[in-house]
Amino acid sequence: MNLEIAQTNTSPAVSADWESGRILIRGDSYPENSFELYHPLIKWVEAFLANLDRPLRLELELLYMNTSSVRVLMDILDLLESAFQKGRDVGVAWRYDIGNERVAELAVEFKEDCTFPFDITARTEPA
C-alpha cells in the first residue's frame, strides 16, 4: 500500500513506501488546503503504525511551509512520538541545503518536543 502524491508548484512530492517504511516529503508546501492534501498521508502513517511492527523513517527536504502545513507536520511528528513512547522504532531525517541555514533553524524548532531520533543534516549537492 504505497502512497504517491505528485509535486505541484505549491505542494511537495510525497512518497510513502509500505515495504521499506520510508516516507519522503520534498519541496515547498503552501497548498490551498493542507489538511485535505496530507489527509491520505496521515491515514497511511496511522495504518502503518497500527498494522506493522517495522521501523518507520520520515525523510524531509522541505523549504517553505505555510501555517497549515506546519500544523500537519506537527501532527505527523506527534504520531511518531506517540509510537516511539510505545517502543516503536521511528526516526526523522531532515536534509537542508547548506546555503539555507534558516531552514535548519526551523527544523530545530520542529525537533524541540521530539524524543525519537531526529537528524538534521546539511546537503551540499542540490537534490
Binding site: 506537527m74 526551523l106 524541540e112
Partner: protein, 261 residues
C-alpha cells in the same frame, strides 16, 4: 431487622408504658445498636463514594488543565514556526526585489528601474508637477583605469562614484547605472541653473577623490551631459539630448559639464 422508624415508635411506647422489663430494654437496646451500626456503614459508604467522585472530578480537572497547557504550547510553537517562515519569505522577497531592481556591483538602481522612475516623473510633469533634469555621467578614460590598475580598481572607482552621487543627492532612487561606466541621474524639481551648479559640484567632488593605485593613488574625472525634460516629449527624446550633451562634453576635453536645455 426492625426499621429504624418502627424501632423508634416501639421505644417511645415502652418509655410511656414504663414496664421496667429488663428483657425488653435489652432487646430494644440491641436493636438500637444494630440500627446505629447499619446507619454508620451506610454513611461511610456514602462518604467513600462522595470522595471517589471528588477525586475523579479533580483528576479530570487536572487532565483538562494539562491538555489545555499542551494545546497552548502547540499553538505557540505553530505560531513561532509560522512566523519564522513568514520572515524567511519576506527576506527572500526583499532579496529578489533587490536583485531585480538594483545593479549588483554598485547597489544603484539598474537601467530598467531607473527608466521606470523617469517615466513616472514624466507622467507627473505632464500632469502639471514641477519639471526635472537628467544627467548622463561617464567616467573619463575608464578603459585606461582598468588597463592600468586592473578591473578590481576599476570596480572600486565605479562603487566610489555611486556612493558619492547618492550622498550628494540624498536619494538612492535618483541615480542608476545605465551601463558600463555610464550613470544616469534624475534631478527632480531642478531647473537649468540649479542642475548645472549641482553637476559641476559633483564633478569637483568626484575629481578630488584619491583612489588606491600606484604610490600616490590616482583621481578619476567625470563628464556630464545635462538637459531638462520638456513636457510632452518622449523618454527617447530627452535621453538623446542628454546623450548629445555628454558627447559634446567628451569631445570638448572631458572633465566638464555640457548643458543642452
Amino acid at each position: 431487622m426492625t426499621h429504624p422508624r418502627d424501632l423508634e415508635q416501639e421505644i417511645e411506647a415502652e418509655l410511656q408504658a414504663g414496664s421496667g422489663d429488663a428483657g425488653t430494654a435489652r432487646r430494644l437496646l440491641g436493636e438500637l445498636y444494630e440500627s446505629y451500626r447499619d446507619q454508620r456503614r451506610l454513611l461511610d459508604r456514602l462518604v467513600r463514594i462522595s470522595d471517589q467522585f471528588q477525586r475523579a472530578e479533580r483528576d479530570r480537572g487536572q487532565a483538562f488543565a494539562a491538555d489545555y497547557r499542551r494545546e497552548v504550547r502547540r499553538i505557540e510553537k505553530l505560531v513561532r514556526i509560522s512566523d519564522s517562515y513568514q520572515t524567511m519569505l519576506h527576506d527572500l522577497n526583499h532579496r529578489l526585489l533587490t536583485l531585480s531592481t538594483r545593479d549588483d556591483l554598485t547597489g544603484l538602481l539598474n537601467r530598467r528601474s531607473l527608466r521606470e522612475r523617469v517615466l513616472a516623473e514624466m507622467t507627473a510633469v505632464n500632469r502639471g508637477d514641477s519639471g526635472f533634469a537628467l544627467a548622463f555621467v561617464d567616467i573619463d578614460h575608464f578603459k585606461v583605469i582598468n588597463d592600468t590598475w586592473g578591473h578590481q580598481t576599476g570596480d572600486a572607482v565605479l562603487i566610489s562614484l555611486a556612493s558619492t552621487v547618492i550622498s550628494h543627492l540624498g536619494d538612492d532612487r535618483a541615480c542608476g547605472r545605465w551601463g558600463g561606466e555610464e550613470f544616469l541621474i534624475l534631478f527632480a524639481g531642478y531647473d537649468g541653473e540649479r542642475v548645472v551648479a549641482a553637476a559641476n559640484h559633483l564633478r569637483d567632488v568626484v575629481g578630488s577623490i584619491r583612489h588606491a593605485g600606484g604610490p600616490d593613488g590616482f583621481s578619476a574625472t567625470i563628464s556630464l551631459g545635462v538637459t531638462l525634460y520638456r513636457p510632452g516629449e518622449t523618454l527617447d527624446m530627452v535621453l538623446s539630448r542628454a546623450d548629445a550633451a555628454l558627447y559634446q562634453a567628451k569631445e570638448t576635453g572631458r572633465n566638464r559639464v555640457v548643458y543642452l536645455p
